[in-house]
């Protein structure tokens, strides 16, 4: 198992963990964090791919993409957090559905 594989497998694991959390956690902050964990996993995959070049300097492209991705993720996370907070102050709820009918998002038909 190469160094690349360690990073990329770890990234894949984070992705899956985040996905599980997103589906099973009803709390909005948990969901947003779960998405961030997934993004982190993806960035790790990028970093692993950058590392495979057999030269002292890694491939700069995945790094640039990760940096761009981080800023984009920060932006959307900021907006999502602001939204979650506003929802909480409007409804007193920190979840999308009423607590007794929480379902996984994919299955609820809104």
């Amino acid at each position: 198992m190469s160094q690349t594989d360690i990073y990329t497998l770890a990234g894949a694991a984070l992705f899956v963990i985040g996905l599980y959390g997103l589906i099973t956690r009803p709390h909005l902050i948990h969901k947003i964090l779960a998405l961030n964990i997934m993004s982190g996993g993806v960035f790790l995959v990028f970093v692993g791919i950058a590392r495979r070049v057999m030269s002292p300097d890694p491939d700069p492209l995945p790094h640039a993409m990760v940096l761009t991705g981080i800023v984009v993720t920060v932006s959307s996370t900021a907006y999502a957090l602001a939204l979650a907070k506003r929802i909480y102050s409007e409804t007193g709820m920190a979840a999308l559905d009423a607590p007794d009918v929480i379902e996984e998002p994919e299955a609820s038909s809104g």
Partner: protein, 239 residues
């Protein structure tokens, strides 16, 4: 927030676990099959970096080869900030001090640290040309300084008006766009820096980006933070 949050039903968790296992298996297979010896675009970058105006490969990609990505990414950042402002209520509450009665020790420390953070920010901006660093790192440090000041009661510098806030948030994007479009009048494509000007133009863009990113991060923080009264009221409920 809410103290008791029920978990999802067991069936949902099982389904989620199955789904994640499926994706996990797919990912492991896909990730292990990534060729080990593919050079990617690294050789192309190395070949052309001399023309980019900067020495650091990642900065060269971010601010020259793929500067369009960066332009749009700044747009996302400004956009998200506008979005946050649009649901956070009026401007005035955004800029209300977060902590009215700051801890004197914290306050003094913040005042002591802030100038150094601004300095560090400047260093990061300059270093990005040849080492890891650049506008985003610099802007983050600047933003952190602002957050620190906000937390210790200095959220609203006297010069920030509503219009001023909008200017600071968008100035980086506007300067970037102005340069992106401006070079077209010199005969190039969008974002095509004329020979020899790349370094200077990149620096101008990065400087203003640093300012905007710092301002944006502070705005996002303050807009998302709860006014102190609200926090207190909630703490009271909890007792």
């Amino acid at each position: 927030m809410a103290s008791v949050m029920p978990k999802s039903p067991r069936s949902v968790r099982l389904a989620a676990a199955a789904l994640c296992a499926g994706f996990g298996a797919l990912l492991v297979r896909a990730v292990l099959a990534i060729p080990e010896d593919h050079p990617g675009l690294a050789p192309v970058v190395a070949e052309r970096i001399a023309e980019s105006g900067v020495e650091h490969a990642v900065t060269a990609v971010l601010l020259n080869f793929r500067s369009y990505d960066t332009l749009l990414e700044i747009a996302v950042l400004v956009l998200a900030t506008i979005g946050v402002l649009s649901i956070a209520g009026s401007h005035s509450s955004v800029w209300a001090p977060v902590a009215e009665e700051a801890d004197p020790v914290l306050s003094a420390l913040a005042r002591l640290l802030a100038p150094f953070m601004v300095l560090a920010s400047g260093y990061l901006l300059w270093a990005g040309e040849h080492a890891p660093g650049g506008a985003f790192q610099a802007g983050s440090v600047l933003g952190a300084a602002g957050v620190l000041l906000a937390l210790s009661g200095y959220a609203r510098p006297a010069w920030v008006s509503r219009f001023g806030l909008r200017v600071v948030i968008s100035v980086g994007l506007i300067v970037f766009l102005a340069i992106a479009v401006g070079v077209m009048f010199l005969g190039g494509a969008l974002l095509e820096y004329p020979d020899g000007y790349a370094k200077a133009l990149v620096l101008i863009v990065e400087t203003w980006l640093t300012v905007s990113i710092g301002a944006i991060l502070v705005s996002l923080f303050i807009a998302s933070a709860s006014p102190i009264e609200e926090l207190r009221a909630r703490a009271g409920d909890g007792r």
